[in-house]
Protein backbone atom coordinates (compact mmCIF):
# COMPACT_ATOMS: atom_id res chain seq x y z
CA UNK A 1 0.00 0.00 0.00
CA UNK A 2 1.18 3.48 -0.87
CA UNK A 3 1.25 6.15 1.76
CA UNK A 4 -1.84 7.95 2.93
CA UNK A 5 -2.05 11.62 2.14
CA UNK A 6 -5.37 12.37 3.77
CA UNK A 7 -7.00 10.51 6.58
CA UNK A 8 -10.05 11.22 8.66
CA UNK A 9 -10.89 9.65 11.97
CA UNK A 10 -14.46 9.38 13.11
CA UNK A 11 -15.37 12.51 11.23
CA UNK A 12 -18.86 13.59 12.26
CA UNK A 13 -21.02 16.57 11.50
CA UNK A 14 -24.37 17.30 13.03
CA UNK A 15 -26.79 20.01 12.08
CA UNK A 16 -29.23 20.72 14.87
CA UNK A 17 -29.57 17.08 15.79
CA UNK A 18 -29.45 15.85 12.20
CA UNK A 19 -26.31 13.87 11.49
CA UNK A 20 -25.14 14.61 7.97
CA UNK A 21 -21.79 12.88 8.30
CA UNK A 22 -21.28 10.21 10.86
CA UNK A 23 -18.11 8.51 11.89
CA UNK A 24 -16.38 8.61 8.55
CA UNK A 25 -12.90 7.13 8.31
CA UNK A 26 -11.49 7.98 4.93
CA UNK A 27 -8.02 7.07 3.74
CA UNK A 28 -6.89 8.66 0.53
CA UNK A 29 -3.75 7.21 -1.02
CA UNK A 30 -1.17 9.51 -2.48
CA UNK A 31 -1.42 9.62 -6.25
CA UNK A 32 -4.91 8.19 -6.40
CA UNK A 33 -8.03 9.54 -7.97
CA UNK A 34 -10.42 8.79 -5.21
CA UNK A 35 -14.13 9.13 -5.89
CA UNK A 36 -16.80 9.76 -3.32
CA UNK A 37 -20.22 8.67 -4.45
CA UNK A 38 -23.53 8.07 -2.84
CA UNK A 39 -27.19 8.94 -2.96
CA UNK A 40 -28.37 12.52 -2.73
CA UNK A 41 -28.04 13.89 0.73
CA UNK A 42 -25.55 11.24 1.73
CA UNK A 43 -23.17 13.87 3.02
CA UNK A 44 -20.59 14.10 0.26
CA UNK A 45 -20.58 17.85 -0.06
CA UNK A 46 -20.66 18.18 3.68
CA UNK A 47 -17.58 15.98 3.84
CA UNK A 48 -15.81 18.27 1.43
CA UNK A 49 -16.82 21.26 3.45
CA UNK A 50 -15.38 19.63 6.53
CA UNK A 51 -12.12 18.82 4.83
CA UNK A 52 -11.63 22.39 3.71
CA UNK A 53 -12.98 23.77 6.96
CA UNK A 54 -15.87 25.62 5.36
CA UNK A 55 -17.69 23.75 8.09
CA UNK A 56 -16.37 22.84 11.50
CA UNK A 57 -16.61 19.15 12.38
CA UNK A 58 -18.66 18.23 15.39
CA UNK A 59 -16.27 15.40 16.12
CA UNK A 60 -13.31 13.61 14.69
CA UNK A 61 -10.02 14.70 13.23
CA UNK A 62 -8.45 15.28 9.84
CA UNK A 63 -4.83 14.50 9.08
CA UNK A 64 -3.06 15.74 6.01
CA UNK A 65 0.39 14.32 5.36
CA UNK A 66 0.31 13.14 8.92
CA UNK A 67 -0.31 16.61 10.29
CA UNK A 68 -3.46 17.28 12.23
CA UNK A 69 -5.25 20.06 10.35
CA UNK A 70 -8.53 19.82 12.19
CA UNK A 71 -8.10 23.18 13.85
CA UNK A 72 -6.87 25.21 10.90
CA UNK A 73 -8.64 27.93 8.97
CA UNK A 74 -9.64 27.56 5.31
CA UNK A 75 -6.89 29.80 3.99
CA UNK A 76 -4.25 27.88 5.97
CA UNK A 77 -5.48 24.64 4.59
CA UNK A 78 -5.36 26.03 1.09
CA UNK A 79 -1.76 27.06 1.67
CA UNK A 80 -0.92 23.54 2.73
CA UNK A 81 -1.93 22.42 -0.71
CA UNK A 82 -5.46 21.20 -0.20
CA UNK A 83 -7.40 23.01 -2.88
CA UNK A 84 -11.00 22.61 -3.78
CA UNK A 85 -12.96 23.54 -6.83
CA UNK A 86 -16.46 24.82 -6.58
CA UNK A 87 -19.67 23.27 -7.75
CA UNK A 88 -20.54 26.51 -9.50
CA UNK A 89 -17.95 27.86 -11.86
CA UNK A 90 -15.65 30.26 -10.08
CA UNK A 91 -13.60 32.59 -12.19
CA UNK A 92 -12.75 36.28 -12.20
CA UNK A 93 -15.05 37.25 -15.04
CA UNK A 94 -13.58 40.58 -16.09
CA UNK A 95 -9.96 39.58 -16.05
CA UNK A 96 -8.23 37.93 -18.93
CA UNK A 97 -7.78 34.18 -18.85
CA UNK A 98 -4.06 34.61 -18.29
CA UNK A 99 -4.61 36.99 -15.42
CA UNK A 100 -6.98 34.53 -13.83
CA UNK A 101 -4.22 32.01 -13.58
CA UNK A 102 -1.65 34.59 -12.66
CA UNK A 103 -3.58 35.71 -9.62
CA UNK A 104 -3.29 32.17 -8.35
CA UNK A 105 0.43 32.02 -9.14
CA UNK A 106 1.11 35.34 -7.57
CA UNK A 107 0.96 34.10 -4.04
CA UNK A 108 4.14 32.11 -4.50
CA UNK A 109 6.07 35.29 -5.16
CA UNK A 110 5.16 36.47 -1.70
CA UNK A 111 4.61 39.97 -2.96
CA UNK A 112 0.88 39.99 -2.65
CA UNK A 113 0.93 42.82 -0.13
CA UNK A 114 3.52 44.87 -1.99
CA UNK A 115 1.46 47.80 -3.03
CA UNK A 116 4.54 49.79 -3.97
CA UNK A 117 5.85 47.36 -6.56
CA UNK A 118 5.11 47.66 -10.23
CA UNK A 119 2.76 45.20 -11.83
CA UNK A 120 5.58 44.43 -14.22
CA UNK A 121 7.13 42.42 -11.44
CA UNK A 122 4.39 39.92 -12.20
CA UNK A 123 5.39 39.44 -15.80
CA UNK A 124 7.76 36.67 -14.96
CA UNK A 125 4.77 34.56 -14.03
CA UNK A 126 3.35 34.81 -17.52
CA UNK A 127 5.26 31.85 -18.87
CA UNK A 128 4.17 29.61 -16.08
CA UNK A 129 0.59 30.78 -16.55
CA UNK A 130 0.70 29.98 -20.23
CA UNK A 131 2.14 26.56 -19.46
CA UNK A 132 -0.71 25.84 -17.15
CA UNK A 133 -3.22 27.03 -19.69
CA UNK A 134 -1.63 24.78 -22.24
CA UNK A 135 -2.02 21.90 -19.85
CA UNK A 136 -5.80 22.33 -20.00
CA UNK A 137 -5.92 23.28 -23.65
CA UNK A 138 -6.59 26.95 -23.19
CA UNK A 139 -3.37 28.34 -24.64
CA UNK A 140 -5.20 29.99 -27.51
CA UNK A 141 -7.60 31.80 -25.25
CA UNK A 142 -5.05 33.39 -22.96
CA UNK A 143 -5.87 37.01 -23.74
CA UNK A 144 -9.61 36.55 -23.92
CA UNK A 145 -11.75 38.21 -21.24
CA UNK A 146 -13.06 35.37 -19.15
CA UNK A 147 -16.78 36.15 -19.35
CA UNK A 148 -16.71 35.38 -23.02
CA UNK A 149 -15.59 31.77 -22.53
CA UNK A 150 -18.08 28.97 -23.05
CA UNK A 151 -19.04 27.04 -19.97
CA UNK A 152 -16.82 24.04 -20.47
CA UNK A 153 -13.78 26.25 -21.00
CA UNK A 154 -14.51 28.09 -17.83
CA UNK A 155 -14.37 24.82 -15.98
CA UNK A 156 -11.07 24.11 -17.64
CA UNK A 157 -9.80 27.51 -16.62
CA UNK A 158 -10.88 26.85 -13.12
CA UNK A 159 -8.89 23.68 -13.08
CA UNK A 160 -5.86 25.49 -14.48
CA UNK A 161 -6.21 28.07 -11.74
CA UNK A 162 -6.44 25.35 -9.17
CA UNK A 163 -3.33 23.72 -10.59
CA UNK A 164 -1.50 27.00 -10.24
CA UNK A 165 -1.82 26.58 -6.53
CA UNK A 166 0.37 23.50 -6.87
CA UNK A 167 -2.07 21.41 -4.98
CA UNK A 168 -1.00 18.18 -3.47
CA UNK A 169 -4.59 17.26 -3.01
CA UNK A 170 -7.38 18.51 -5.20
CA UNK A 171 -10.99 18.25 -4.14
CA UNK A 172 -13.43 18.35 -7.03
CA UNK A 173 -17.14 18.56 -6.35
CA UNK A 174 -19.11 17.24 -9.31
CA UNK A 175 -16.65 18.54 -11.88
CA UNK A 176 -18.72 17.46 -14.85
CA UNK A 177 -22.06 18.67 -13.63
CA UNK A 178 -24.01 20.55 -16.25
CA UNK A 179 -21.72 19.63 -19.08
CA UNK A 180 -22.44 18.28 -22.47
CA UNK A 181 -20.90 14.98 -23.51
CA UNK A 182 -17.99 16.50 -25.31
CA UNK A 183 -17.11 18.60 -22.33
CA UNK A 184 -17.57 15.70 -19.98
CA UNK A 185 -15.08 13.71 -21.98
CA UNK A 186 -12.67 16.59 -22.17
CA UNK A 187 -12.82 17.26 -18.45
CA UNK A 188 -12.50 13.60 -17.66
CA UNK A 189 -9.36 13.44 -19.71
CA UNK A 190 -8.18 16.63 -18.12
CA UNK A 191 -8.61 15.29 -14.64
CA UNK A 192 -6.79 12.19 -15.60
CA UNK A 193 -3.99 14.26 -17.07
CA UNK A 194 -3.56 16.56 -14.14
CA UNK A 195 -3.78 13.75 -11.65
CA UNK A 196 -0.23 12.81 -12.45
CA UNK A 197 1.86 13.56 -9.43
CA UNK A 198 -1.16 14.78 -7.49
CA UNK A 199 -3.96 13.30 -5.53
CA UNK A 200 -7.57 13.90 -6.36
CA UNK A 201 -10.66 13.41 -4.28
CA UNK A 202 -13.83 13.94 -6.24
CA UNK A 203 -17.58 13.73 -5.86
CA UNK A 204 -19.32 12.62 -8.99
CA UNK A 205 -22.68 11.23 -9.99
CA UNK A 206 -21.64 10.40 -13.52
CA UNK A 207 -20.72 6.74 -13.32
CA UNK A 208 -19.08 6.80 -16.68
CA UNK A 209 -16.57 9.29 -15.41
CA UNK A 210 -16.12 7.46 -12.16
CA UNK A 211 -15.62 4.15 -13.82
CA UNK A 212 -13.07 5.53 -16.26
CA UNK A 213 -10.77 7.36 -13.95
CA UNK A 214 -11.32 6.51 -10.32
CA UNK A 215 -8.69 4.34 -8.68
CA UNK A 216 -10.70 3.92 -5.59
CA UNK A 217 -14.26 4.62 -4.58
CA UNK A 218 -15.96 5.25 -1.28
CA UNK A 219 -19.70 5.06 -1.17
CA UNK A 220 -21.46 7.16 1.40
CA UNK A 221 -24.94 6.59 2.57
CA UNK A 222 -26.74 8.55 5.27
CA UNK A 223 -23.49 10.05 6.31
CA UNK A 224 -21.64 6.79 6.78
CA UNK A 225 -19.33 4.79 4.57
CA UNK A 226 -21.28 1.98 3.01
CA UNK A 227 -18.63 0.41 0.89
CA UNK A 228 -15.16 1.01 -0.38
CA UNK A 229 -13.00 -0.42 -3.09
CA UNK A 230 -12.36 -0.37 -6.79
CA UNK A 231 -15.15 0.39 -9.22
CA UNK A 232 -15.61 -3.24 -10.00
CA UNK A 233 -15.95 -4.18 -6.34
CA UNK A 234 -18.24 -1.40 -5.44
CA UNK A 235 -20.57 -1.63 -8.39
CA UNK A 236 -21.20 -5.25 -7.67
CA UNK A 237 -22.04 -4.64 -4.06
CA UNK A 238 -25.78 -5.29 -3.71
CA UNK A 239 -26.24 -2.65 -1.03
CA UNK A 240 -24.69 -0.04 -3.25
CA UNK A 241 -26.79 -1.12 -6.14
CA UNK A 242 -29.91 -0.78 -4.15
CA UNK A 243 -29.10 2.49 -2.46
CA UNK A 244 -27.48 4.29 -5.28
CA UNK A 245 -27.02 2.82 -8.66
CA UNK A 246 -30.35 1.23 -9.23
CA UNK A 247 -30.90 -2.35 -9.97
CA UNK A 248 -29.31 -3.26 -13.24
CA UNK A 249 -25.94 -2.74 -14.72
CA UNK A 250 -27.49 -1.35 -17.90
CA UNK A 251 -29.26 1.41 -16.11
CA UNK A 252 -26.20 2.20 -14.16
CA UNK A 253 -24.47 3.12 -17.35
CA UNK A 254 -27.59 4.87 -18.38
CA UNK A 255 -27.16 7.48 -15.70
CA UNK A 256 -25.19 9.36 -18.21
Amino acid sequence: MGDVILATQNLTKQFKGFTAVSDVNLQVQRGHIHALIGPNGAGKTTCFNLLTKFLVPTEGSIHFNGIDITGERPAQIARRGVIRSFQISAVFPHMSVRENVRVALQRQLGTQYHFWKSERSLDRLNQRALDLLAEVGLQDWAEEVTVNLPYGRKRALEIATTLAMEPELMLLDEPTQGMGHEDVDRVTQLIKAVAKGRTILMVEHNMKVVSTIADRISVLQRGAVLAEGSYADVSRNPQVMEAYMGTTEGQLQGAH
Partner: protein, 248 residues
Protein backbone atom coordinates in the same frame (compact mmCIF):
# COMPACT_ATOMS: atom_id res chain seq x y z
CA UNK B 1 -63.27 25.38 -22.91
CA UNK B 2 -62.41 21.88 -23.89
CA UNK B 3 -59.43 21.19 -26.01
CA UNK B 4 -58.53 18.00 -27.68
CA UNK B 5 -55.21 16.28 -27.58
CA UNK B 6 -53.17 17.31 -30.52
CA UNK B 7 -53.96 21.00 -30.53
CA UNK B 8 -51.00 23.16 -29.94
CA UNK B 9 -50.14 23.86 -26.32
CA UNK B 10 -47.15 25.94 -27.20
CA UNK B 11 -46.26 27.50 -30.49
CA UNK B 12 -43.12 29.54 -30.91
CA UNK B 13 -42.43 31.48 -34.09
CA UNK B 14 -39.30 33.40 -34.96
CA UNK B 15 -38.32 33.92 -31.37
CA UNK B 16 -35.43 36.30 -30.82
CA UNK B 17 -33.90 36.81 -27.41
CA UNK B 18 -31.30 39.02 -25.80
CA UNK B 19 -29.44 39.25 -22.51
CA UNK B 20 -28.62 42.93 -22.39
CA UNK B 21 -26.56 43.49 -25.49
CA UNK B 22 -25.88 39.90 -26.31
CA UNK B 23 -28.21 38.27 -28.77
CA UNK B 24 -28.69 34.60 -27.87
CA UNK B 25 -31.83 33.40 -29.62
CA UNK B 26 -31.94 33.86 -33.36
CA UNK B 27 -35.36 32.96 -34.63
CA UNK B 28 -36.53 29.81 -32.89
CA UNK B 29 -39.53 27.97 -34.35
CA UNK B 30 -41.01 25.24 -32.26
CA UNK B 31 -44.35 23.66 -31.58
CA UNK B 32 -45.53 21.41 -28.79
CA UNK B 33 -48.88 19.71 -28.98
CA UNK B 34 -51.04 19.11 -26.03
CA UNK B 35 -50.10 15.99 -24.11
CA UNK B 36 -46.70 15.69 -25.73
CA UNK B 37 -43.30 15.30 -24.15
CA UNK B 38 -40.73 17.24 -26.14
CA UNK B 39 -37.03 17.35 -25.43
CA UNK B 40 -34.65 20.11 -26.40
CA UNK B 41 -31.16 18.83 -27.04
CA UNK B 42 -28.04 20.79 -27.65
CA UNK B 43 -24.56 21.53 -26.50
CA UNK B 44 -23.69 23.72 -23.58
CA UNK B 45 -24.60 27.27 -24.33
CA UNK B 46 -26.73 26.36 -27.32
CA UNK B 47 -29.60 28.34 -25.90
CA UNK B 48 -31.98 25.72 -24.57
CA UNK B 49 -32.29 27.23 -21.15
CA UNK B 50 -32.72 30.57 -22.81
CA UNK B 51 -35.69 29.25 -24.76
CA UNK B 52 -37.42 28.16 -21.57
CA UNK B 53 -36.59 31.43 -19.92
CA UNK B 54 -37.90 33.30 -22.91
CA UNK B 55 -41.16 31.40 -22.74
CA UNK B 56 -41.51 32.56 -19.15
CA UNK B 57 -40.49 36.09 -20.03
CA UNK B 58 -37.42 35.84 -17.84
CA UNK B 59 -34.77 36.99 -20.27
CA UNK B 60 -33.86 40.56 -20.95
CA UNK B 61 -35.73 41.14 -24.17
CA UNK B 62 -37.60 38.90 -26.57
CA UNK B 63 -39.28 39.29 -29.91
CA UNK B 64 -41.33 37.07 -32.16
CA UNK B 65 -44.34 35.10 -31.13
CA UNK B 66 -45.02 32.68 -28.29
CA UNK B 67 -48.53 31.30 -28.05
CA UNK B 68 -49.64 29.29 -25.10
CA UNK B 69 -52.97 27.56 -25.63
CA UNK B 70 -53.57 30.01 -28.41
CA UNK B 71 -52.87 33.08 -26.27
CA UNK B 72 -50.12 35.35 -27.51
CA UNK B 73 -47.76 35.94 -24.59
CA UNK B 74 -44.92 37.89 -26.04
CA UNK B 75 -46.16 41.09 -24.44
CA UNK B 76 -47.27 39.61 -21.15
CA UNK B 77 -45.43 39.95 -17.86
CA UNK B 78 -44.05 36.78 -16.38
CA UNK B 79 -46.67 36.27 -13.73
CA UNK B 80 -49.47 36.42 -16.29
CA UNK B 81 -47.73 33.81 -18.37
CA UNK B 82 -47.45 31.51 -15.39
CA UNK B 83 -51.13 31.89 -14.72
CA UNK B 84 -51.89 30.44 -18.10
CA UNK B 85 -50.91 27.16 -16.50
CA UNK B 86 -47.19 26.99 -17.01
CA UNK B 87 -44.88 25.43 -14.47
CA UNK B 88 -41.20 26.22 -14.71
CA UNK B 89 -38.42 24.31 -13.01
CA UNK B 90 -35.23 26.32 -13.43
CA UNK B 91 -31.78 24.96 -14.09
CA UNK B 92 -30.41 26.47 -10.89
CA UNK B 93 -33.30 25.01 -8.88
CA UNK B 94 -34.22 28.20 -7.11
CA UNK B 95 -34.85 26.85 -3.66
CA UNK B 96 -35.56 29.58 -1.14
CA UNK B 97 -33.29 29.67 1.85
CA UNK B 98 -35.64 31.57 4.10
CA UNK B 99 -38.42 29.05 3.60
CA UNK B 100 -38.46 25.54 4.97
CA UNK B 101 -38.54 22.67 2.52
CA UNK B 102 -42.25 22.33 3.03
CA UNK B 103 -42.90 26.04 2.67
CA UNK B 104 -40.93 25.88 -0.55
CA UNK B 105 -43.12 23.09 -1.70
CA UNK B 106 -46.30 24.95 -0.85
CA UNK B 107 -45.17 28.29 -2.17
CA UNK B 108 -46.38 28.40 -5.77
CA UNK B 109 -50.07 29.16 -5.78
CA UNK B 110 -52.34 26.61 -7.39
CA UNK B 111 -52.94 27.70 -10.95
CA UNK B 112 -56.29 27.61 -12.60
CA UNK B 113 -54.87 25.85 -15.54
CA UNK B 114 -56.45 27.36 -18.58
CA UNK B 115 -56.46 24.30 -20.67
CA UNK B 116 -57.94 21.81 -18.29
CA UNK B 117 -57.28 18.88 -20.48
CA UNK B 118 -59.45 15.95 -21.10
CA UNK B 119 -57.73 13.02 -19.53
CA UNK B 120 -56.00 15.17 -17.01
CA UNK B 121 -59.28 15.95 -15.40
CA UNK B 122 -59.20 19.43 -13.96
CA UNK B 123 -55.54 18.67 -13.55
CA UNK B 124 -55.45 19.53 -9.89
CA UNK B 125 -51.80 19.12 -9.05
CA UNK B 126 -50.36 16.28 -7.05
CA UNK B 127 -51.11 16.24 -3.39
CA UNK B 128 -48.38 16.75 -0.86
CA UNK B 129 -48.78 13.17 0.29
CA UNK B 130 -48.20 11.87 -3.22
CA UNK B 131 -45.12 14.00 -3.51
CA UNK B 132 -43.65 12.79 -0.26
CA UNK B 133 -44.29 9.28 -1.34
CA UNK B 134 -42.40 9.87 -4.52
CA UNK B 135 -39.49 11.66 -2.78
CA UNK B 136 -39.09 10.22 0.71
CA UNK B 137 -36.00 12.36 1.26
CA UNK B 138 -38.14 15.46 1.20
CA UNK B 139 -40.56 14.11 3.76
CA UNK B 140 -37.66 13.48 6.06
CA UNK B 141 -36.15 16.95 5.66
CA UNK B 142 -39.42 18.88 5.36
CA UNK B 143 -38.69 21.27 8.21
CA UNK B 144 -35.13 22.12 7.21
CA UNK B 145 -34.50 25.46 5.59
CA UNK B 146 -34.71 24.91 1.85
CA UNK B 147 -31.09 25.49 0.99
CA UNK B 148 -29.83 23.22 3.73
CA UNK B 149 -30.93 20.28 1.65
CA UNK B 150 -28.28 18.52 -0.35
CA UNK B 151 -27.89 19.40 -3.99
CA UNK B 152 -29.95 16.46 -5.11
CA UNK B 153 -32.65 16.97 -2.54
CA UNK B 154 -33.02 20.51 -3.75
CA UNK B 155 -33.42 19.23 -7.26
CA UNK B 156 -36.23 16.96 -6.16
CA UNK B 157 -37.88 19.78 -4.32
CA UNK B 158 -37.72 22.02 -7.35
CA UNK B 159 -39.50 19.47 -9.49
CA UNK B 160 -42.02 18.56 -6.84
CA UNK B 161 -42.86 22.17 -6.29
CA UNK B 162 -44.36 22.68 -9.71
CA UNK B 163 -46.11 19.37 -9.81
CA UNK B 164 -48.27 20.57 -6.98
CA UNK B 165 -49.58 23.67 -8.69
CA UNK B 166 -51.67 21.97 -11.32
CA UNK B 167 -49.81 23.64 -14.13
CA UNK B 168 -50.22 21.44 -17.19
CA UNK B 169 -47.46 22.81 -19.35
CA UNK B 170 -44.24 21.90 -17.60
CA UNK B 171 -40.91 23.40 -18.53
CA UNK B 172 -38.20 21.25 -16.97
CA UNK B 173 -34.59 22.32 -17.18
CA UNK B 174 -32.01 19.61 -16.56
CA UNK B 175 -33.96 17.90 -13.85
CA UNK B 176 -31.80 14.80 -13.75
CA UNK B 177 -28.73 16.87 -13.03
CA UNK B 178 -26.81 15.91 -9.92
CA UNK B 179 -29.15 13.12 -8.94
CA UNK B 180 -28.20 9.65 -7.96
CA UNK B 181 -28.95 7.07 -10.61
CA UNK B 182 -31.79 5.59 -8.55
CA UNK B 183 -33.53 8.90 -8.34
CA UNK B 184 -33.02 9.54 -12.02
CA UNK B 185 -34.83 6.34 -12.69
CA UNK B 186 -37.65 7.41 -10.44
CA UNK B 187 -37.91 10.69 -12.27
CA UNK B 188 -38.11 8.93 -15.56
CA UNK B 189 -41.03 6.91 -14.30
CA UNK B 190 -42.65 10.07 -13.05
CA UNK B 191 -42.45 11.76 -16.41
CA UNK B 192 -43.95 8.77 -18.07
CA UNK B 193 -46.83 8.98 -15.63
CA UNK B 194 -47.25 12.65 -16.27
CA UNK B 195 -47.55 12.02 -19.95
CA UNK B 196 -50.18 9.46 -19.35
CA UNK B 197 -52.10 11.94 -17.30
CA UNK B 198 -52.09 14.34 -20.22
CA UNK B 199 -49.52 16.86 -19.10
CA UNK B 200 -47.52 18.67 -21.70
CA UNK B 201 -43.80 18.62 -20.96
CA UNK B 202 -40.90 20.49 -22.48
CA UNK B 203 -37.61 19.15 -21.18
CA UNK B 204 -34.12 20.42 -21.57
CA UNK B 205 -31.71 17.56 -21.05
CA UNK B 206 -28.04 17.02 -21.19
CA UNK B 207 -28.53 13.46 -20.20
CA UNK B 208 -29.54 11.98 -23.50
CA UNK B 209 -30.09 8.47 -22.24
CA UNK B 210 -32.50 9.77 -19.68
CA UNK B 211 -34.46 11.81 -22.20
CA UNK B 212 -34.43 9.43 -25.13
CA UNK B 213 -36.98 6.88 -23.97
CA UNK B 214 -39.35 9.52 -22.61
CA UNK B 215 -39.83 12.02 -25.39
CA UNK B 216 -42.30 12.00 -28.21
CA UNK B 217 -40.27 14.43 -30.21
CA UNK B 218 -36.87 16.05 -30.16
CA UNK B 219 -35.58 19.43 -31.14
CA UNK B 220 -31.88 20.05 -31.50
CA UNK B 221 -30.78 23.58 -30.74
CA UNK B 222 -27.57 25.16 -31.83
CA UNK B 223 -26.50 28.77 -31.65
CA UNK B 224 -29.96 29.86 -30.64
CA UNK B 225 -31.78 28.19 -33.52
CA UNK B 226 -33.53 24.91 -34.15
CA UNK B 227 -31.23 22.92 -36.40
CA UNK B 228 -33.02 19.61 -36.40
CA UNK B 229 -36.25 18.11 -35.20
CA UNK B 230 -37.71 14.65 -35.39
CA UNK B 231 -40.08 12.24 -33.70
CA UNK B 232 -39.13 9.44 -31.35
CA UNK B 233 -39.65 6.90 -34.10
CA UNK B 234 -36.90 8.49 -36.18
CA UNK B 235 -34.44 8.43 -33.31
CA UNK B 236 -32.48 5.42 -34.50
CA UNK B 237 -32.16 6.86 -37.96
CA UNK B 238 -31.01 10.18 -36.64
CA UNK B 239 -28.33 8.84 -34.33
CA UNK B 240 -25.44 9.59 -36.67
CA UNK B 241 -26.56 13.18 -37.08
CA UNK B 242 -26.95 13.51 -33.37
CA UNK B 243 -23.56 12.08 -32.82
CA UNK B 244 -22.17 14.81 -34.97
CA UNK B 245 -24.23 17.58 -33.42
CA UNK B 246 -23.98 16.58 -29.82
CA UNK B 247 -21.14 14.16 -29.60
CA UNK B 248 -23.42 11.52 -28.10
Amino acid sequence: MVKTVGTSALRICQLQGWYGESHVLHGVDLEVRRGEVVTLLGRNGAGRTSILRAIMGLIGRREGSIQIDGTETIGLPTHRIARLGVGYCPEERGIFASLSAEENLLLPPALKSAGAVSGAGTSAGMSVAEIYQMFPNLAERRHSPGTRLSGGEQQMLAVARILRTGANLLLLDEISEGLAPVIVQALARMIATLREKGYTVVMVEQNFRFAAPLADRFYVIEHGRVVEHFAAAELEAKMPVLGELLGV
